[in-house]
Symmetry: C3
Subunit: 312 residues, 3 copies
Amino acid sequence: MKSLSQKYLLSVADLSQKDIDLILKTASKMEDIAFHPVKKNAALRGKTVLLCFFESSTRTRASFEIAGKRLSADTINISSSGSSLSKGESLLDTVKNLEAMKPDAIVVRHSVSGMPHLLSKHIDCPIINAGDGTHEHPTQALLDLMTILKTGKKIKGLNVAIIGDILHSRVARSNILLLSKMGAKVHVAGPASLMPPFLDQYGVEVHHNIDTIIPKADVIMMLRIQKERQEESFFPSLREYSRFFGLNEKTMKHAKKDVVIMHPGPVNRGVEIAPEIADGVHSVILDQVTNGVAVRMALLYLLCGTEVSLRA
Amino acid sequence: MKSLSQKYLLSVADLSQKDIDLILKTASKMEDIAFHPVKKNAALRGKTVLLCFFESSTRTRASFEIAGKRLSADTINISSSGSSLSKGESLLDTVKNLEAMKPDAIVVRHSVSGMPHLLSKHIDCPIINAGDGTHEHPTQALLDLMTILKTGKKIKGLNVAIIGDILHSRVARSNILLLSKMGAKVHVAGPASLMPPFLDQYGVEVHHNIDTIIPKADVIMMLRIQKERQEESFFPSLREYSRFFGLNEKTMKHAKKDVVIMHPGPVNRGVEIAPEIADGVHSVILDQVTNGVAVRMALLYLLCGTEVSLRA
Amino acid sequence: MKSLSQKYLLSVADLSQKDIDLILKTASKMEDIAFHPVKKNAALRGKTVLLCFFESSTRTRASFEIAGKRLSADTINISSSGSSLSKGESLLDTVKNLEAMKPDAIVVRHSVSGMPHLLSKHIDCPIINAGDGTHEHPTQALLDLMTILKTGKKIKGLNVAIIGDILHSRVARSNILLLSKMGAKVHVAGPASLMPPFLDQYGVEVHHNIDTIIPKADVIMMLRIQKERQEESFFPSLREYSRFFGLNEKTMKHAKKDVVIMHPGPVNRGVEIAPEIADGVHSVILDQVTNGVAVRMALLYLLCGTEVSLRA
């Protein structure tokens, strides 16, 4: 069995080209399982996967849980209801305790950027970062990459536009890192107040107007506006945001005929994307979700599967 | 393998006589599994069942989860903790996302009447309504029917009294529809303020006093008074409610010797039913719960089992 | 198959010497499973285990869930989110309802002392007490006993010091009962306001100063200070508590060279125990967690396994 160069999946920055190829190839095989009448494979039978979502999540948690179960792993949900989980220091103690129960993988989502990295310094068990603060969301970037490839496009030289709140988006950051590494040309657009300072080093082209980017883009990734957080502070109003940076029939007029529209979900219909575009022929939003299960199956398999478990 | 005429179970109104017979016959076989030393059947191995309880529930969720697991399905709990689930429109997006993970059945409870119907218009995966607002609770009516039949009574011509808050009760509505369809004579009693307008069309006889209904009834279904909601608005006080519409040793004096007492739970002891009646010889309240698991196993099996899965 | 003299595990007080030996011997076999590549045994296949944590818990619930799953049981989580669970009377109804779904074991944690005992008077299904109020936490005492034995120490004549809030600690109470029964000499230390009146009857020696107890102790169990509850009422300040009853390099100076340090978790680092001691060579805190899974596997197996299930 081939394996990753890493025992943790903390960041796409850590992945080698070979790792990425192996993950995508494995995910492609895993995807087939979802279309069998019996969607079950014994590869992770007897493995224990802890799903530690210290930040609430419906979709990503369900995606990992389904991924684990389809490979016959035992999945255990851990959330942050207990008061002992309110501070960073005791979170490490909690996870060290959980590790003492001999799990085979720990999936972690946390609102603090860098928390999975901190844990990995003290935890020997494989850790998968399921989103940490505004830092990274590597499984999202991997499933996005898989989704683009499945449309038949080549990544080398591909123009990918990421539009919205780049500053706070771990999805944007992981995609910028991964797509740049794979040879795509990444463009970003959004309000100037939502642009981070690190973009230069990855050769990302910054646009302050979506009209200059739409006509060039082979792929457009719209980001979710987190209404509860930004409305007041970073731009004047949702209506204005939508008018300048929303994707709708008018802004789509200048897009390429075979452009691919993506969104990590959950969608704010009518804010960052118009319903007819989200549900339209260019949209691969639901394919992203389907591919997400396959990518997570692949990662769980590569990080905690063993030759022995394959024969079990 | 025989199958239902419907791919969704949204309402008992949609079920044909043949469907009902098939469900009951299948449930009866499923019931046997609960009494085996190894309470496990491989019929749904490799099937994914999503339990989407957007309204909180202890018993019904546990009943469905046990039902799925005893048939070897993978069950995934989804609740409404995420803020994205607060509005109807985004609920549809959430469920469409979940569907993209390729589940085989989605069980939905929601506080909005008609929500499972709305979802079924956009979702191809089998949906089971586990209670929607004040509209329907079809699995409860089916388990109630199974429970009556198991006492040896014939439904045709049976006098069934449903007592309490008929207006807000999805249990009452589903039972009225199902029992009327099966040929029973349904009577209802309760405060005039808690009587809905639709009763005439099903030939339901309305009583404003339980003394005229108790002596005739072969089966008495007591409904739960939702103290938190109705106390102030629909009747003067719980004490008065209990005095006029509660079932106790005094009101039971005129009941038939072989009357059957039912309650969907949770019971407000001393309000709608006296403890000695709830725990007495006529009560089949706990049988209802046992039969509930069997009915839900039957429905999951009929809606997402396949010939292939039976051999798995 | 040998079995326990009890069908419930409510209190260590109920366990015979033979029961304790059987649990420890079985746990030792179960522990091996955690180190297999496929950590799975079919002993409880087709068994349904309800995990009713009516008081929130991360670790103990996860420990029981992993224990059940490694033996192939179906585990169902039940928590107290529903309003029907707020009162003692309706809790009994809830659990009677759950019992009607034919589970094979019910694990109960509840904030009210004696609740599992009350339930056992009305429930036929095996019940395991996972902590009730300030009363008992028998699985913790059993895993602590297993942990001490695995260090190579003999229990007969062993000096065990339990330090902290003895009054409110169900861990302390269960350990005092179990260790005394096994022939250990138990010493306790803590603020006078946190000493319960029942200590005399078990021959426990009370110290008001840890300096008199540390040099004698073969095993030191530190208890968690529940900061949220006691800070104001039972002692002047956390700082003062820590100074008089905390374990740190200074207080450890007079300890035996081979002393064993235990803590049931979660640890308040720097309050009852200094980080360098919690993580130091004498500490077996994480071994306690590992052994906890094994003890819970043993109990689930002994209470609901059958000859038939072993062959399954």
